[in-house]
C-alpha cells in the first residue's frame, strides 16, 4: 500500500475530509425537514402513504451519474446540483424510516394522549415523535452514511470533498492519492456510524429500555 500521498499531504486530506463532512451534514440538514414533512404527510393522510414511499424509492433508483448529467444543463456544475442529488437520495432512507417509526407507535398510547387533553401539536412533539425516534434516528444514520458515500461521486462535478481528491488522483494516474481519499472516506463513515449509534442510545425510549433491563 502506497501511503505516500497521505503522509505527505495530511493537511490537505484532513481539509478535504472536513469539507466532505460539512457537505454531507448540509445535505442532511436540508433533507431532514423535507423528509419529516413527507413522512408525517404519508402517515397522517392514509391515501398518500403509497404514492410518497413509492416516489422516493423510484428517485433512488436513478443512476447517480445520469442524475448529475440531467441536472448540469439547468444548474451547471458545483455545489448546487450536488446538493440536489444528495438530498434526493437521502429521502428514501429518511422518509421510509420516519413512516415506519411513526406507524410503529401503539395507537392506544396516542388515544390516551388525546384523551388526557393533549392537542395535536403536544401529542406529536411530546409523545408521537419521541416514541418514533429510535427508528427515525436509525434512518438518519443510514441516510448520512449513504450521503457520505454518494458525496465522493459529486467530486466529479467539482463540488468539493474527498471525491475531488480521488478524481484528481485518477486523472493524474496517481494511485496513492486515490488511496488517501478512500481511506479518509472509510474512516469518516466509520466514525459517523459510531457517533450515530451512540446518539440512538440517548433517545428517551432507549434510555427507558436500558432502565428496564438494568
Amino acid at each position: 500500500m502506497d501511503l505516500r500521498y497521505l503522509r505527505e499531504n495530511t493537511d490537505v486530506v484532513w481539509e478535504k475530509m472536513l469539507e466532505h463532512l460539512s457537505l454531507s451534514l448540509t445535505a442532511l440538514a436540508i433533507a431532514l425537514p423535507l423528509a419529516i414533512v413527507l413522512g408525517v404527510l404519508a402517515t397522517r393522510v392514509r391515501w398518500l402513504t403509497t404514492p410518497i414511499v413509492t416516489a422516493v424509492s423510484i428517485l433512488y433508483t436513478i443512476p447517480s451519474f445520469a442524475f448529475m448529467a440531467f441536472l448540469i444543463p439547468e444548474f451547471g456544475i458545483g455545489r448546487q446540483p450536488a446538493m440536489i442529488v444528495l438530498v434526493t437520495y437521502a429521502q428514501l432512507f429518511l422518509v421510509r424510516n420516519i413512516v415506519a417509526g411513526l406507524k410503529s407507535v401503539d395507537p392506544s398510547i396516542l388515544e390516551a394522549a388525546r384523551g388526557l387533553g393533549m392537542n395535536e401539536a403536544q401529542l406529536f412533539w411530546k409523545v408521537w415523535l419521541p416514541l418514533a425516534t429510535p427508528v427515525i434516528v436509525a434512518g438518519i444514520r443510514t441516510a448520512l452514511l449513504a450521503i457520505i458515500a454518494m458525496a465522493t461521486l459529486i467530486g466529479y462535478i467539482n463540488a468539493g470533498g474527498l471525491g475531488e481528491l480521488m478524481f484528481a488522483g485518477i486523472g493524474r494516474d496517481y494511485p496513492s492519492q486515490v488511496l488517501a481519499g478512500v481511506i479518509a472516506v472509510a474512516a469518516l463513515a466509520t466514525v459517523t456510524d459510531l457517533v450515530m449509534r451512540a446518539l440512538e442510545l440517548l433517545t428517551p425510549v432507549a434510555r427507558a429500555r436500558r432502565h428496564a433491563a438494568g
Binding site: 388515544e111 387533553g117 427507558a208 428496564a212
Partner: protein
C-alpha cells in the same frame, strides 16, 4: 350531593390539598345517536340517560353493543351524529376538545402509559398541560401514587415497562385522577389483567371512588365486575339501553330475556354470586347466641354459602366495613333471597357462563 350550578369548577384553581373533596359532575346524555360512516345501523341509538353526581355507572353489554362508543362520545374521541351531552351545565362542544378532556379522567384497557416517560412524568401529564407550578405537581404526584398503592420513593423514578400489568394500570388510574377530574371514563381498564389482580384493583377502585366521588362511567362486558363496582348498571344491546338499574334490580328483576341471559339471572349460583350478603341478611337474634363465623356485608351470598358448608354452621354473623357485627345470615335467608323472583330455577337450564 350538591353540584356547582355556576359554570363548572375551575380546575386550575382547585387547590390540591389531600385528595377527598373532588366530588362529581352530573352527566346528561340527550337523545344521543352515533352512526359510523360505513354503517347504516346506528352504533348508539337514541340514548338518553342522566348520571347523578358522584355515581358509579357501569356500561354493560356484549361486544358491539355500543358501550365503548357511548363512553368515548363523552370526551369527544367520537363525535355524536345527533343528540347532545351535558356535563353539569356545559355542553361538551362548548369547549375545545383538549380543554374538555383535561377535566375528564380517562383510563383505557391497554393503559396507554407513555413508555419513554418515568412514572412521575406519566402521572404529571395533565397537571403539566394545565401549567401547574412544579412544586404543586411534585406534591400531587406523590399523593396520587400513595393513593393507588404505589410508594412514590419506590415507583416515581421507574419506567412503565419495569412495572407489572396491575401496577401499570394503577399508574393509569393515578394519571387519570391527577387534575382532580369530576368525571372519570374507564374503558375496560382491568380487562387485560389476571383474575386475582383484577379483583384487587376493583376493590381499590371502589375505595378510591368512595373517597373522591368522581362521577364514573365504566365499560365492561364482565357481569361480575359490573355488579362489584356499579351503583347502577346500564345494560346495552344493539346501541340501545335495555335496562338502567341497580345491580340487585338487574339480577332479581331483569327487563327481558336478553338481560336475564346476560347476567345469568336464572342460574342459582350466579344469582348467589350477585346478591350481596347485606341485602339478604336479617336482624340478629339476640337471645340465641352469636354465630362464630363472620362474613362481610359486602360479600356475596355464594361466598356465605361456601363459608356455611365449610364450617358446618347454618348461620353467619354479618359484619360491617369496620368489622362490627351488624346482622345475621341464615341458610333460610339465602334461600329466600335467591328464590324471591324466580320460584324454582328450571333444572334444564344450563349454567351458562357469561
Amino acid at each position: 350531593m350538591c353540584r356547582p350550578r355556576t359554570a363548572a369548577v375551575r380546575y386550575d384553581q382547585v387547590t390540591s390539598g389531600t385528595a377527598g373533596t373532588t366530588g362529581g359532575s352530573e352527566i346528561r346524555l340527550e337523545q344521543l345517536t352515533k352512526i359510523y360512516g360505513h354503517s347504516d345501523r346506528p352504533a348508539v341509538d337514541n340514548v338518553s340517560l342522566t348520571i347523578e353526581p358522584g355515581e358509579f355507572v357501569v356500561l354493560l353489554g356484549p361486544s358491539g353493543c355500543g358501550k365503548t362508543t357511548l363512553l368515548k362520545m363523552v370526551n369527544r374521541i367520537h363525535e355524536p351524529t345527533s343528540g347532545r351531552i351535558m356535563i353539569d351545565d356545559t355542553e361538551v362542544h362548548q369547549l375545545p376538545a383538549s380543554q374538555l378532556r383535561r377535566r375528564i379522567g380517562y383510563v383505557i384497557q391497554q393503559t396507554g402509559l407513555f413508555p419513554h416517560m418515568r412514572i412521575e412524568d406519566n402521572v404529571a401529564t395533565v397537571p403539566k398541560l394545565l401549567r401547574w407550578d412544579k412544586g404543586r405537581i411534585r406534591q400531587r404526584v406523590r399523593e396520587l401514587l400513595e393513593l393507588v398503592g404505589l410508594p412514590p420513593e419506590k415507583y416515581a423514578r421507574r419506567y412503565p415497562m419495569q412495572l407489572s400489568g396491575g401496577e401499570q394500570q394503577r399508574v393509569g388510574l393515578a394519571r387519570a385522577l391527577a387534575a382532580e377530574p369530576t368525571t372519570m371514563l374507564m374503558d375496560e381498564p382491568f380487562g387485560a389483567l389476571d383474575a386475582i389482580t383484577r379483583t384487587r384493583l376493583q376493590d381499590e377502585l371502589k375505595r378510591i371512588h368512595r373517597q373522591l366521588r368522581p362521577t364514573t362511567l365504566f365499560v365492561t362486558h364482565d357481569i361480575d365486575e359490573a355488579v362489584r363496582l356499579a351503583d347502577r348498571i346500564v345494560v346495552m344491546r344493539n346501541g340501545r339501553v335495555v335496562q338502567f338499574a341497580t345491580p340487585l334490580e338487574i339480577v332479581t328483576d331483569p327487563a327481558d330475556d336478553f338481560v336475564a341471559d346476560l347476567v345469568g339471572a336464572n342460574d342459582v349460583l350466579r344469582r348467589m354470586s350477585l346478591i350481596p350478603v347485606a341485602s339478604a341478611a336479617s336482624a340478629r337474634a339476640r337471645d340465641s347466641g352469636e354465630p362464630s363465623e363472620q362474613i362481610s356485608g359486602s360479600a356475596f351470598l355464594r361466598e356465605a354459602l361456601g363459608r356455611m358448608v365449610e364450617s358446618g354452621q347454618d348461620r353467619l354473623t354479618v359484619v360491617d366495613e369496620d368489622g362490627h357485627p351488624d346482622s345475621e345470615l341464615s341458610l333460610d335467608d339465602i334461600r329466600r333471597a335467591v328464590g324471591e323472583e324466580s320460584e324454582i330455577p328450571a333444572p334444564h337450564r344450563a349454567a351458562g357462563d357469561h
